[in-house]
Amino acid sequence: MKLKKLAVATAAMVALGAPAMAEIVFPSLSYRTGPYAANGTPFADGYADYFTLINERDGGIGGEKIRLLECETGYNTEKGVECYESTKGEGAVLYEPLSTGITYQLIPKASADGIPVHSGGYGRTSAANGAVFKWIFNYPTNYWYGASVAIKHILDQEGGDISGKTIALLYHNSAYGKEPIRTLEELAKKHGFSLTLLPVDHPGQEQKSQWLQIRREKPDYVLMWGWGVMNQVAIQEAANIRYPMDHFIGIWWSGSENDVKAAGAKGDGYKALSFHMPGSDFPVFDDIQKYVVDAGKAAGAGDQIGTVLYNRGLYAAMLAVEAARTAQELSGNTRITPAEMRDGMENLDMSEEKMAALGLPGFGPAFKVTCANHGGNGLALVQQWDATAQKWNVITDYIEPDLEVIQPLIEEDSAAFAAENNITPRDCN
């Protein structure tokens, strides 16, 4: 046992002996193995490729090279802790935990260590309240906004009135899946629809009961908060019971190519939310091809480019780079500290022009981060799967969530967190 510890010590020494603090360090807590590997891989590839592009094409951010520290979590919180601890000593300026569990776990830790965390489109929803969660950012959108956008889309389809309709929520029976329930309950009160809750236990290979119930009760719409194998099975079962696919709407984590492909032609018409565009019809992808793929520097197998989750990783990386640029402008240093990075994120202004200049026109919503609002404006769009062309088509503009309903919920939840942890909210005026 002692020998083993000695060996760990040596190995850790080797690890820590590497040169540090020479660049801007972005750790990537990825998962290319384990039950969610198929979803983690494209995200990690996109995240890595964008940084490679910036290094190769622009020579880094403001002349500072980016060093990406990839650490495999396997979607396991305990491995995530190990990854966080082993990378934070290397001068990490921003964490992208990519898992609800790890995000919740890092929120207090990273806040205490003074390192910002970005959980765009996942993690703790009430972290949108920057007054309480100083170090946590979840722009451009979150689950509660997502739930509201989905309901708005349904409202659009039904001509503005959904009173008396029934909407079923099929959700992964975990922290992640339970997120939208409160919001949907509030919205049900407001719009007068009735909500049916259908939990699916992890991993979700067996959903016969839930789909038989849907078949019996014929809800007008089914929303899905699914992840991993649950998505594929749900879409397959929906097709089996001949549920109208365009009335079946998934959250953005249930809307990748992985989820629909297993169902084949029957998955046609399935809808999912997203907060960025699918596909590779953007100028920046030419640069990625030229500087990254052709140079043999693509992450992973290099076969994921343009998929939804790859684009999501790329989008997250782009937001990180832009925040770092903002931080450099604000502080005047090129070698930014985590605290300066945080300031950069808090002053991030993603305008249409900026995205166009980056070769990503209209790729994501335009939004501005402020001290009080770390969550962006919550815009999301609806995309629909075309099984014959094997691609996602965007069918709506960016839809604005119902802030009137959600803002009080965020206030309430973050206030509860602040009270439980003795945090005095910052004064943001």
Binding site: K5, V8, V14, A15, R32, T77, Q105, A112, N173, D201
Partner: protein
């Protein structure tokens, strides 16, 4: 030559039956204790605490607990994850309800609550035996996880059902929460681990432990010689669950700080801890530590060597990590089928005679 019994004469029963009969072992043990208590806290950093030592100590407690039940009393259990969840949620409820009480009491009371729950789920063991008993504990595993996920009272009605450990102190030092220092958390877990290991050692070699072992070896024979199976089995469940509950409370409050029941305390955790005691050695205190060390430290070590040492891609390294751990388990078995503890015992036997084998 160095490691020997010769010249080490025992003059009392007490001396003869001590835990470490050989002087060198005793010295090694006390040195280890001194290092663990007096040296490590001064050199420990966040990485060592959070990635290596805390999980090792906490899993060692859980493995001790399961080893009492499975290794000593012979009752197979696959409910460890569920019982750890009881400990964690009990600790959470206590921490939020009584913020001013020192954290040690929360952890111990959480353990006691788990002991009660464990006894309730241990009742079927009076009727069902062997592998089939696993079904009772599996029912506990899945039911408890479902319960903590479903009933909002357990997670104080938070939106997602995650529980967060607020800051709680012991003698003025923060033990839980983000501001807790690495040495404080390490020492807190170390004290509990050492105390519980001491209790486990003394329970298992006393009359209680002998009753457990009698039940394990043959319950009917044990009954005939006057061991009450009801009290023996239930006491094993109670003590074991107490250990496991403490481990669950520590895992949540001190180590992770935020958990979700399905992810942190799912069936995988039950298997992991069962693997620890099987690989370490059933019915051995040292085995519990060795197994926990193997399952916790090996992946970290391999990761560091493969990714940071050799610069492999993280996914390749992760795949190889699985393969190497698996292959190591098999290789160990082929060479020594009774776990790491037996390997250790044999090594010591050899060492006693070395370098003169005859």
């Amino acid at each position: 030559m160095i490691y020997r019994e010769a010249g080490d004469f025992k003059t009392s029963y007490r001396e003869d039956s001590q835990t470490f009969p050989i002087k060198l072992d005793r010295r090694a043990y006390w040195t280890l204790m001194v290092v663990a208590f007096a040296v490590v806290p001064f050199v420990i950093n966040d990485y060592w605490a959070n990635a290596v030592l805390l999980p090792f100590l906490i899993y060692a407690i859980a493995a001790l607990g399961l080893n009492i039940l499975t290794g000593y009393a012979g009752q197979v259990s696959l409910g460890t994850g569920g019982f750890m969840a009881v400990g964690a949620y009990a600790a959470y409820k206590l921490m939020t309800a009584f913020p001013d009480v020192p954290i040690l009491f929360h952890v111990l009371i959480a353990g006691a609550i788990t002991a009660l729950v464990g006894m309730a789920f241990g009742l079927p063991s009076l009727r069902i035996k062997g592998f089939y008993l696993a079904v009772a504990t599996l029912a506990a595993q899945f039911f408890l996880v479902w319960l903590f996920n479903k009933v909002p009272w357990f997670f104080n009605y938070s939106a997602s059902g995650m529980i967060n450990a607020p800051e709680r102190t012991m003698f003025g030092a923060a033990i839980t929460g983000p501001e807790a220092s690495a040495p404080a958390r390490y020492l807190f877990c170390l004290i509990l681990t050492v105390a519980l290991a001491w209790i486990a050692r003394n329970l298992t070699r006393g009359s209680v432990g002998r009753k457990w072992m009698a039940i394990r070896d043959m319950d009917i024979a044990a009954e005939i010689i006057g061991v009450n199976p009801l009290t023996a089995k239930l006491s094993a469940f109670a003590v074991s669950s107490f250990f496991i509950g403490v481990a669950g409370a520590l895992l949540f409050a001190v180590y992770l700080g935020a958990v979700e029941v399905g992810e942190a305390f799912g069936i995988q955790k039950s298997f992991l801890i069962l693997f620890m005691i099987i690989i370490g050695g059933l019915g051995s205190i040292f085995g519990s530590f060795a197994g926990a060390a193997f399952m916790v430290l090996m992946p970290v070590l391999l990761k560091n060597v493969l990714v940071d040492g050799f610069g492999w891609a993280t996914d390749l390294a992760a795949h190889f990590q699985f393969m190497i751990v698996g292959a190591l388990i098999i290789v160990f078995l082929v060479f020594e089928p009774h776990g790491l503890a037996q390997l250790w015992r044999l090594a010591k036997e050899k060492l006693r005679l070395w370098p003169f084998p005859h």
